[in-house]
Symmetry: C2
Subunit: 350 residues, 2 copies
């Protein structure tokens, strides 16, 4: 990133904190009348217009959650917003505002932060979200981004994790495992580059999975689609830590079991071919690869007709009684207990 | 902190992220019926009960904003909450909820985070605030705390920075400069300790200013007092970066000037005596020492009778026309232009 020595480098200290925030946010526009006051006072002022407020926050740390040697800063800004909006959509809500706090070491020039904010701005414009505040400070090492997202939903529309009932269908949006495999490709290319910096990687056959890793999209369309279809899920969660870990959250909080069917898991052809190339089991990757930011939800069996055949949605199993446990039914028709091999930032993959 | 080798040390990796959050937050209780759903889903759910929502966020970074060699973790947790609540009170609002995100390196055992959360919990209980979410992750170096506070206010009660008018009185709560001087004392003792670890410092004569630094209190009482007195300020801000910098924010946003009177600045006797000891000008410290977390506000001249004589409030000057500039009137009756020598984390004191 920004290794071109001829590029302009403006030191952050020159601007000071207020100058920096003003500089970085001056081109952001406000989309919502509910944003009464954005950046520029002690606190932002928001009107929830009679709806319930949804609040979620995520922290991304350089060296733990992202590697700037292959993550362009603009993509990082975009992704930091997506990760948070995804949580609002997982409540069946509409995302309206974000705050962005940033800690950066002095190794970053102003131009790097401009790139980061260009990605944040693109996310705000694409997802119709207002940047209403934040904090910007130096760090002793690396970069850290803390985003809080605010959304709204009617009280009766909110979907929690704890409402799944036996016989409910388990549904997932999009496809699974791509983001994790994209990361494996990028990590491999980084190592190749370290050995031979002249090597020009041919990444054409990985474009989809690399985009899933570097520029994920939160599923704003799914709450909208569900409304259109007149389906209210009984439970919902977003897939940040992997399908297995997320369905286990739903089951534990709903006090139920589940059966997932291996043959039903939606996989992109690039996921299948890359799994073969890396000698990885694609089912394992679909279950435990994180960062897909798809939505996982359960619906009443009586809603099946409304969702079947929808290209955005795949039925992958059903909820069972609690004493039946949480299982994957393999292609060979064997039941295997699910494991939560989600991401644990304190020790990496569990 | 926690240098006693006999103390228990539980590694964070043993618990994992979800176990850690559960462990740290299980004793927190919910104070507000407006907190519909706290920790445990994709997002928290809050009901603003017909009021406007206030949102503010601050980031505290080890080595930039705090030094764990003299800042006990419990105090740090308390202070991280105070810094944010102060911004809600500065809007003339009531603080109701917070989220706390934490990045910590593996050098911190679980017991250290328990101390930190004990301070957060004390702040929540004392200030009647609910912890409703957050994120906990590892960092490659040091500790970083990101807090977002949510509050509410009736639309007609909110006080912005931009409403000050010429002839308005400038009022400050409490006294000024203590927190900065407390930091100077702690920094000096740290250096003494490094030279002679056996030295037992006698800090009795600095108790007030050290407490101002290590355990500041946000002025929850001031919006309440103003309501009681039937005074609505025309502009308000909290003093985090120093009086001079903050009054300049009010003046700039309100497009007015001001006169502050040196002889009116409220100083605690410990501030005066410690300034003498350190050979510092107490007026300079009152103007530019940050972190007091007092409230600075302007009121209409017609409200003078309501606030005069109140032991919590001091009238320190008045608003002037914009073309008169922003000035301090010294004891010798000379006018000096104010300078914003606030804290700039990218280069320290500006």
């Amino acid at each position: 990133m920004l290794e071109d020595k001829n590029q302009e480098r403006t030191s952050l200290a020159e601007l000071g904190e207020f100058g920096l925030i003003n500089h970085l946010t001056k081109h952001f526009k406000i989309h919502h009348s509910s944003t009464v006051k954005g950046i520029g006072d002690d606190a932002a002022v928001v009107n929830t217009e009679g709806n319930e407020l949804l609040v979620t926050t995520d922290l991304l740390v350089e060296g733990i959650h992202f590697d700037l040697s292959y993550m362009p800063l603009k993509h990082l800004g975009y992704k930091a917003v997506m990760v948070n909006l995804s949580d609002v959509y997982a409540m069946n809500g509409q995302a309206n505002q974000i705050t962005v706090s940033l800690a950066v070491s002095n190794r970053f020039p102003l131009e790097a932060l401009e790139e980061l904010y260009a990605g944040i701005q693109l996310a705000c414009n694409t997802y119709n979200v207002d940047l209403i505040g934040g904090d910007t400070t130096s760090s002793t090492k690396g970069m850290l981004i803390s985003v809080t997202a605010l959304g709204t939903a009617k009280k009766e529309d909110i979907v929690y994790r704890n409402g799944a009932k036996p016989t409910d269908l388990i549904v997932v949006s999009g496809d699974l495992g791509g983001a994790y495999l994209g990361l494996q490709v990028l990590e491999r290319e980084k190592q190749v580059f370290q050995v031979n910096p002249q090597n020009q990687p041919d990444l054409d056959k990985y474009t989809y999975i690399i985009e899933r890793q570097l520029k994920p999209e939160a599923r704003k369309d799914i709450p909208e689609l569900l409304k259109e279809l007149e389906v209210k899920p009984t439970a919902m969660i977003d897939i940040s830590d992997g399908l297995s870990s997320e369905i286990m959250h739903i089951c534990t909080q709903s006090k139920v079991g589940c059966k997932l069917y291996e043959e039903k898991l939606p996989l992109d052809p690039q996921v299948i071919s890359t799994c073969e190339e890396f000698d990885l089991d694609s089912t394992m990757i679909a279950l435990s690869g994180g960062e897909d930011y798809e939505l996982l939800f359960t619906v009443s069996l009586s809603d099946y007709d409304k969702i079947k055949g929808n290209p955005n949605l795949t039925v992958i199993g059903h909820i069972a009684e609690e004493n039946e446990g949480m299982n994957l039914v393999t292609r060979a028709n064997q039941e295997m207990a699910l494991k939560a091999q989600g991401w644990n930032s304190f020790k990496g993959k569990e």
